[in-house]
Amino acid sequence: MGEGSSKPLWVLVVLLLIAIGLVQQIADPIQLKLVPPEKHEGRGELMAQLPGQFIVASLAGFKEVIAGALWVRADTFFHEGKYEAIIPIVRLVTWLDPHNIDVYTTGAWHLDYNFVDSNQMSDKRYIPSAIALLEEGIRKNPGIWDLYFELGWTHYNKKVLDYEKALECIEKACKLPGRDPNTGKKVPRPDYTDRMLAHQYEKVGRFDDAIRQWGVARRRAEEAIARERSKGYGDETTLDVCDRNLALLYLRLAYRYGNMEAYRKGVELMERLARRNAPPELVEAAKATRADYERRKAANDPPRDALKPLDAGFEVTWKKIAPKVFILKGKINLVPVSEYKDLASEVLTHFYRDNQKLPPDQRKLWRDGCRVRWMICDYDYKMPQLKTFSYKIDKTKTVAWDSAYVSGGTFSDRIDLSQDPEFYPFKADKYRVVITFVPQQSDAPDYVQDRIGWKGEALRDKRYLDLRTQPGFRLLRKEFVLTRKDVM
């Protein structure tokens, strides 16, 4: 290159600029994938509340350090009980570090559980925010199981009690691997995710899927044990957990619905478990179930405990005793001990037999443990579905729910919503009170389901049987409509 004309250099510059444009075109979509943009309302307003040095530091490339410092601050607020101060920090931290999984899970847990009234009942108006936060986390971290599981188990299963939605999320979680947080290499997700999916299938009544999933969970446990053995250790208890749960599922299918093929499989599994370093009571149970199975098979007498009708005799009253203070009272025929007399599951539980051995004054008359749900809300209340996370809730709405324990065939609860006007403003003209009994866990324990079935097949009731709310299930449901006068 001499010191002559500059024209060739200019041509080269133009060619290089064209090349730069082309490279930009290739880089842009990948960059969008790596750092997806997301618009958030109020971002500037919230960021402006940060101390100046935090803003400068985050712009200078220390975003994650600032996020870490803010998260430590959130911990301090947590210990001081200043829960309302934590959520704006959660918002800031997820902006600064959108891949910090812990912030989404902990933030959503705060929203679900920590805004409690004077009776320690959580403010349900924050649940949509918790779900939206987790959904944002999933959008930004779609390749890992954690947040799907969190959304399914902690929020839909435990809090919203929407088991179908919980199943959907846990199914997604079980399609994804775990990741080493330092290297990003695939690692197996925890065993319990697969077992939880099996339980969830059982809960919604998809028994074939539950059986298949117990097989998947067992295979994964076997693989984990093989890996651990290569490192010199190995814990086989997980195999026992899978086998025990699958055996119980088979036996319950037999006891509740008379499925003798399931009974045979359940007995065989029990025997296999008993052969494998099992405690004496399990050996005894395996023998007893085998004997019962052979007897019923010979006599062609399959048990169908959940198909024998049981009148629930559901009664419920809702009474105002003071402004915003109510008494919930009712009766439900779940479950008199006499109902257990000839139940097939007695082979395993011996509940009735043991109860009868007690002196008459110590004998139980009822098998307690069910729960009846209650909900009071504005008449037109529907849980909002937020497209983007916001922790600003509509403070004019009223919604509260909880459950009452059933003991001796009755339930009662004093519901005091008068102490916390911010939680329960009661601004509407009309309200709905819904009292339900759902035959699924955790409202109906296993031993209650042994009599009424997973879907409440045995349940009968003259007035309050509900077959529509949850297709395929038999619920008990009573709805009251209250005016403002009935509440205040």
């Binding site: 290159m1 010191e3 490339g61 975003k63 994650e64 959108p98 902990t106 330092n182």
Partner: protein, 287 residues
Amino acid sequence: MIIWSIAKTTIGDALRKKVLQIFLVVAIGLIIISLSFSQTLSFSSRAGSSTDIMLVKSFGLGLMAVAAWLISLVMGVSLIPQEIERRTIYTILSKPVKRYEFIVGKFLGAFLTLAINVAVMGVVFIAVCVFKAWGAEQPLAREESGIPVVGMQQVGLWDWNMVWGVIMIYFQFLLLSSVVLFLSVVLTPTVNFFMGLGVYIVGVMAPLTETLASPDAKLHVVLKTFYKVLHIIVPNFDKFNITNPLLHPETQVKSIPMYTGIVTLYAILYALVMMLLAVIVFRRKEV
């Protein structure tokens, strides 16, 4: 050979600069100090050593970026003007050295000096990351006999993403050096320093200029065109800012090596343009 000789001299001169040595030493010192960083939160079951490592990585990458930014700016504004100020350029150009050879040698020297600085910081940084990960465990929620317990598992030691991170930092500031070196042919060092700073800020805010230039933006067409031109002309430093996905390899980002390759090419092409423009301008410059 002449270009290489100028480059070698440039490297020697730059490495002897006290101010650059201070940036390097302070950065390395702080990276080592970051080993003691810890973020243990009692209300979280997941926070633990892996979170601490993430904090060290984030701090280290940020610190290297700041140091490389200062080094490229301070070095870039002075390399060519100091030759003119000290009149050493007359001695150089009186020898059989062509003007383009001088410019290319200076660019090459600056790029290599930056490479040495970033490499030294990078080696220390990666060593610190490995040391922090050594024996570190992360909480692993699991169940034993149906009872949930929180167990621990050893985290992996070697994280390739940190290597990509160091490479991204180098090429980001190679790009800034080339811009500042080009501007140093036409501007005084002080003006150039602020000009370089401005170019960097606009370049980092590329997503904003892109949004303002987009058809959805409610702006006058003249303003939109202005932002469009700005977006195309100003080097897009934001392209190199992928620290967050780098720090979270568990979020399964697959395209980082390919992306690093593409933006490296972008930086090299842009640096070549700056060098060619510097050559064109310097050929006509009165010195």
